[in-house]
Amino acid sequence: MDVSGWTVEQRMRLPDYCFGNRELHTVHAEGVVDDTYCWAKSEVRMPDPMCFWEFTFYNRPNATGKGYARLGLADAVPTSVAEMDNAVEVLPRFAFENVGPNRIELYESFYTTYNYNVRKGIDTGGKYFVVELYTLLETMRFNISFVASGLPTNMEGWLAHKKV
């Protein structure tokens, strides 16, 4: 049964297993100088549309490090704050207030790991997943891992044409 014409919203109501393969992606950024920005992108372009299932990020300051990270979608690695501002927001309502799109504060905590469940359908336009890391005080390493899949385009009738 062809469900490729269904909207993202409709396909997101299908059972989890209809989405098939879910793969882990990572993006790694290292800020090795104080008060600098660095940017990185995912290894591959994202499926379009994609299901963003969950993400985890790992913050590794040297000692009393502090900074922030931002998430987005773009066609290439951003090279400036302005370019990151223009990246497509992945989680538009996620940001702290007044601090820019998709910004996540990384406080003065060692080895912080944050994990978020999501399950969100996103029109990615086939862009890369990009991150911005800002290091306020010192060397900081930042890694984000996330689980993504495409959305179902075709599946067995028994999955959809009954009363599922």
Partner: protein, 167 residues
């Protein structure tokens, strides 16, 4: 039972989770090794095609300003520095593919990467890899493990005969 052994993998991956049956952890203890790189090889054989549901990495670095770097590979023997870069990565969407390591973690942590639902075409290979804790000079102990299952070859008839959702 309904034979799904000829189904393509992407179609099999659309079956409900429970059709994949038992999952089991395969892993290995890595230690005690001081500094440098610790190569590992998980002794258990894995199916030719298997589903990777979860990955666990436990690292125990103590050095200041350090970070744990990890890579998982498909291989048939314990990797060494000379061949690890030529071994297939277990997960192919990881950042820094031009480098040896593709997972970067806090140095003292037990981390689950996932949960995922990733079909792996291992062929005759098993799971190995390497762990490196930057600037670590002390003896440390680490461990890695993967939660895997095979893929279904058959499912109950009613799974594919339309019973799902019927009143």
């Amino acid at each position: 039972m309904y034979d799904v052994s000829k189904w393509p993998l992407d179609k099999i991956m659309q079956l409900p989770d429970w059709c994949f049956g038992q999952r089991w952890w395969v892993g290995t203890y890595i230690g005690t090794v001081a500094a440098t790189v610790s190569y590992f090889f998980i002794e258990e054989s894995v199916p030719d095609n298997f589903v990777l549901w979860d990955v666990l990495v436990a690292v125990n670095g103590h050095a200041a300003g350090t970070i744990a770097q990890v890579t998982f590979r498909l291989c048939h023997e314990t990797p060494v520095s000379g061949n690890i870069k030529t071994m297939r990565r277990l997960m192919t969407n990881m950042s820094c593919r031009t480098e040896t390591y593709d997972i970067h973690l806090p140095p003292q942590s037990v981390t689950h990467l996932g949960p995922m639902r990733n079909i792996i075409e291992a062929g005759n290979d098993q799971i190995g890899g390497a762990v490196k804790i930057l600037t670590e000079t002390a003896t440390v102990e680490n461990a890695v493990a993967c939660l895997i299952s095979g893929i279904p070859k058959e499912v109950p008839d009613w799974v594919v005969s339309g019973l799902a959702g019927r009143q």
